[in-house]
């Protein structure tokens, strides 16, 4: 089953001409046809276009193109519906964009194409990436391939579920407060949030511009390294992208982690942490010790303020970012007698409840008279949170933590209680506030039902190579990532 392969497995077979990209792509399309009715990871996909790209890749391989030049040559990759692909729909899981077709490629899309990937399909997500369950999509909920009664996590729920159900080889998601790492943990795959500025945001529809990063969701750590290398790099079209050189992340894999110092933040071992998750993380820590790492207890004293800080800054930025969806130039429109009525009706009908809640929150915290008490204060706390991490990284090479306090919950279980949902992001959102990098790797399962648990590793700014090295060493000593979800098994 070619759709079950990792990037490294598939490219090895393609290079040896054992299989064709067309066959691999067809296998993915077949799997989508077989299981996506149950998973609903994809909002849409163009099978003919995917196969045409695959044929072009096969031709290139036949003509001598190599994976050294094009690391993703012939590999089917699907992207979250928040990343622009020229000629394909771009809805961000929202009704407000109507039948919008992107007239341009995001920088990451160009990079995927340049690396030879078959870029196909639009993956479901919480509307405008606001949520952590994919229940906020205007186009139906995505289901967890391990248990279809449960959420896949979010907001990149479609990206995680598609990988976990072997509907494609790897995917791209976006992570503003954990939206790549959290669904990766919930679905049992690897999810990487790069350092802010590592990957260009050009063509990523903004939720919170100072927090958003595009990241890969993959079947193992090696694939994450391959994907990160492809999508990283300075981009003149994104003023916040960093001019740092892109290392060969794969080259850092396979090295021992003996003598490395890993920090365990005492603030993360909180009351709300599920006992099974706690056990799995402790077992992972023991495994890392066995591999020669030294575990140090560290403190991130401002952790308690992270959720509040995040929901002020993220919503403030979102309130302006989403102002452009007004029905004037593109997207859905509900007419009105004057522009104000047109805006109210269009945005009233076009946005879902969670998006409206966040726009209102963000508008409020920026309002005259409240701006200093909320927005300005949150910015100051954000600086303190970043300093917490930078101080910790003076002591340790990486930080070990749970990705989520619990495994995937049932669809509908928390949708009436947004605050409870927001608190579920407690371990992931500090990473975005601090602008550092993080990765979630599978570290076990709950017993009954059997649901994946994620281990989170956090690294220094631009410290992805170290992060991947630790994650890879851990992964090689365990078999968690090789376990297949019931839907992938078929």
């Amino acid at each position: 089953m070619l759709n079950q392969l990792t990037i490294s497995e598939l490219t090895a077979k393609l290079a040896k001409r054992e299989v064709s990209s067309r066959a691999a792509t067809q296998a993915c399309l077949d799997q989508i046809a077989r299981v996506d009715g149950q998973v609903h990871a994809f909002l849409n996909h163009d099978a003919a276009d995917a196969l045409a790209q695959a044929d072009a890749a096969d031709k290139a391989i036949a003509a001598g193109a190599t994976h050294a030049q094009q690391p993703l040559l012939g590999v089917p990759i699907a992207v979250k519906d928040v990343i622009a692909v020229k000629g394909q729909p771009l809805t961000c899981g929202s009704k407000i964009l109507g039948k919008f077709i992107s007239p341009y490629d995001a920088t990451v899309t160009e990079k995927l194409r340049a690396a030879g990937a078959i870029v196909f399909g639009r993956l479901n997500m919480d509307e405008f990436a606001m949520g952590s369950s994919t229940e906020n999509s205007a186009f139906g909920v995505t289901r967890n391939p391990w248990d279809t009664a449960r959420i896949p996590g979010g907001s990149s729920g479609g990206s995680a579920a598609a990988v976990a159900a072997d509907e494609c080889i790897a995917t791209l998601g976006s992570d503003t407060g954990g939206s790549v790492r959290q669904p990766a943990a919930n679905c049992g795959c690897v999810g990487l949030k790069p350092t802010y500025g590592r990957v260009s945001r050009y063509g990523l529809v903004a939720f919170a511009s100072s927090l958003d990063q595009i990241g890969p969701l993959t079947k193992d750590v090696r694939d994450a390294a391959t994907m990160l290398k492809v999508i990283s790099g300075h981009d003149q079209r994104d003023s916040t992208s960093l001019p740092e050189a892109v290392p060969d992340f794969s080259a850092s894999l396979g090295h021992s982690i003996k003598g490395m110092k890993l920090g365990l933040p005492k603030e993360y071992m909180i009351g709300g942490l599920d006992p099974e998750v706690k056990l799995a993380v402790e077992a992972a820590v023991a495994q890392l010790t066995k591999l020669g790492a030294e575990i140090v207890e560290i403190s991130l004293p401002h952790t308690d303020y992270a959720v509040a800080t995040y929901y002020i800054i993220a919503t403030a930025e979102a309130s302006a970012n989403l102002a452009r969806f007004d029905g004037i130039r593109y997207g859905a429109r509900v007419d009105g007698a004057d522009p104000i009525e047109l805006y109210s009706k269009t945005r009233g009908a076009g946005f879902g409840a969670e998006v409206k809640r966040r726009i209102i929150l963000g508008t409020y915290v920026l309002s005259s008279g409240y701006h200093d008490a909320y927005y300005l204060r949150a910015q100051k706390v954000r600086t303190l949170i970043r300093q917490d991490f930078l101080k910790a990284f003076e002591q340790v090479d990486a930080i070990v933590a749970p990705t989520t306090p619990t495994a995937a919950f049932k669809i509908g279980e928390k949708s009436e209680d947004p605050l409870q949902l927001y608190l579920g992001d407690i371990f992931t959102l500090s990473c975005n506030l601090a602008g550092i990098c993080g990765i979630s790797v599978p570290c076990g399962f709950t017993k009954s039902p059997k649901l994946p648990i994620g281990l989170q590793l956090l690294g220094r700014p631009m410290g992805e190579a170290t992060l991947l090295r630790v994650a890879h060493a851990y992964e090689q000593g365990t078999g968690w990532h090789q376990e297949k979800s019931p839907l992938a098994r078929g």
Partner: protein, 495 residues
């Protein structure tokens, strides 16, 4: 009780850049609607702004031209409000950290608030932002053109140092002249490159507290600003005198009716919810960058005028011509430095050269096949003679080698052919005749041929001498030295 007006102006100026503020689209007026647009300036989902370095340079250059401070840290903020012609529904602007601040403009103005015919208006700040698109309203719907959306726009905010409509008018003209000559903006009103918001209040003379600030929005001509203030200031004073309490509000100028009308009051003012734009890095220019901008600073018009008067002893009128016509001024200075009598050079450059160029230009404009878009089609660069020829011509006159009327012929010839004055004088035999023998002969002829003026002169009508002088000049084909002609005629008639 006497009242006075307190006026501050916010002047928006489109910068002279090739491309827009955040994208590579052309900054160009008059193109077909929605042709200079791209995903970035249309605010499509997922796009990001990239600052135009030249626009930042022109803003800092303006800072230098307006005697401002150049902060080492500036940033861009988002100003949120919904309007159909604004693609993102927020405008990127500089809120609390502008690229330049705290300067002043000095200009000639006679009136209250001026000393020795000069006035100073302090500049609060000049900041960089983006222009919006343009709405056109039809009978049943509206059209939007986003060609202008994202064009770099600079807002120059003055302190409330202006006290009258005339002073506002002169300030705006001075500002425009500085920006045009500084290469910052073309300030073409017809193309909407300059727009103004006027803040005006009144208070009893001698008091310090400001009255309720009333803003007149979106003025697109300087004369409009003057007219609006000429209406608004008495309106406010009369209202206050009636005992009415004015409230902070925004008004619209109706140019046809010649009145201002209230649009909204403070209560329904926008809350713009400014915050730093997370898509853009703060601008922290280094010394080298600032120095390279500073090297582009030109002499300010007013300073130039004063200097020309000082260095070349020019009268104010001549210096004024060279102040507003920089090219002509440079032409003048290029040769005046070597001239013994710069004023004479100025006369030739202004009265003859400038006038002749204007004539030729007019002539070309009425020629069939003339292309209206090619403005500036005939100018100093197109002259056939070198600037030094003017100097040579002046020297010929000064040394009395040719007469004034001969000099006019020489100029006309050198303008047409580019030949040197000396060559023309030689070819046309225009050298002034100072040979008394030859002149005496012409005088005798003139006296013999014109008995009437001779009789008049002898009867005491001294002006008749001019008529005889003219005859002699005619006989000498303009070459006789006029001073000698006068002397000889007088001697002959009195004897």
């Amino acid at each position: 009780m006497e009242y006075e007006a307190v006026i501050g102006l916010e002047t928006h100026v489109q910068l002279k850049t090739k491309s827009k503020m955040w994208c590579g689209c052309a900054n160009q007026y008059g193109a077909e609607p929605n042709t200079n647009v791209c995903p970035v300036c249309l605010g499509l989902p997922g796009v990001l702004p990239v600052p135009n370095d030249e626009a930042l340079r022109l803003t800092v250059l303006t800072g230098f031209l307006l005697n401002c401070e150049i902060p080492r840290f500036a940033k861009f903020d988002r100003k949120s409000y919904f309007y159909p012609d604004m693609p993102k529904n927020y405008q990127i602007t500089q809120y609390d950290k502008p690229s330049t601040a705290n300067g002043f403009v000095e200009f000639e103005f006679n009136g209250s608030g001026s000393t020795d015919g000069r006035s100073r208006v302090r500049i609060t700040r000049a900041h960089l932002e983006e222009d919006v698109g343009k709405s056109t309203h039809f009978e049943r719907n509206s059209g939007l053109d986003f060609n202008r959306a994202g064009v770099p726009l600079m807002e120059i905010v003055s302190e409330p140092d202006i006290t009258s409509a005339d002073m506002a008018y002169e300030y705006l003209n001075a500002l425009k002249e500085i920006l045009v000559q500084g290469g910052v903006s073309d300030c073409d009103m017809e193309k909407g490159q300059v727009r103004c918001d006027v803040n005006v209040s009144v208070r009893p003379v001698g008091t310090k507290e400001l009255g309720a600030k009333i803003e007149i929005k979106n003025m697109n001509s300087f004369s409009g600003v003057r007219r609006a203030l000429d209406y608004e200031i008495p309106r406010q004073i009369e209202a206050v005198k009636r005992g009415e309490k004015l409230i902070q509000s925004t008004r619209r100028w109706d140019d046809v009716a010649g009145i201002t009308e209230q649009m909204r009051t403070k209560e329904d003012a926008h809350d713009y919810r400014y915050f730093p734009d997370p898509d853009l890095m703060p601008s922290a220019p280094d010394e080298a960058w600032i120095a390279s901008v500073k090297s582009r600073v030109v002499e300010l018009p007013e300073a130039r005028k004063q200097r020309l008067m000082r260095e070349y002893q020019l009268p104010a009128g001549d210096a004024e011509v060279f102040k507003s016509n920089v090219e002509l001024g440079n032409y003048f200075e290029g040769i005046a430095k070597q001239a013994k009598n710069p004023k004479a050079v100025a006369n030739w450059v202004i009265n003859n050269l400038q006038a002749r160029i204007a004539e030729v230009s007019m002539f070309m404009m009425v020629e069939p096949g003339f292309n209206q878009t090619q403005m500036g089609f005939f100018g100093l660069d197109d002259l056939k003679f070198k600037p030094e020829a003017i100097l040579e011509l002046v020297n010929l006159v000064e040394s009395k080698a040719i007469s004034h009327s001969a000099a006019q012929q020489v100029f006309a010839e050198m303008f047409d052919t580019g030949k040197s004055p000396a060559l023309i004088v030689q070819e046309k035999g225009l050298a002034q005749v100072s040979d008394t023998g030859a002149i005496e002969k012409f005088c005798d002829e003139a006296i013999a041929a014109n008995p009437n003026p001779v009789a008049d002169y002898k009867a005491g009508k001294l002006a008749a001498l001019n008529s005889l002088k003219g005859q002699v000049m005619k006989l000498s084909k303009g070459k006789a030295n006029p001073a000698l002609v006068g002397e000889i005629l007088e001697r002959k008639l009195k004897s």
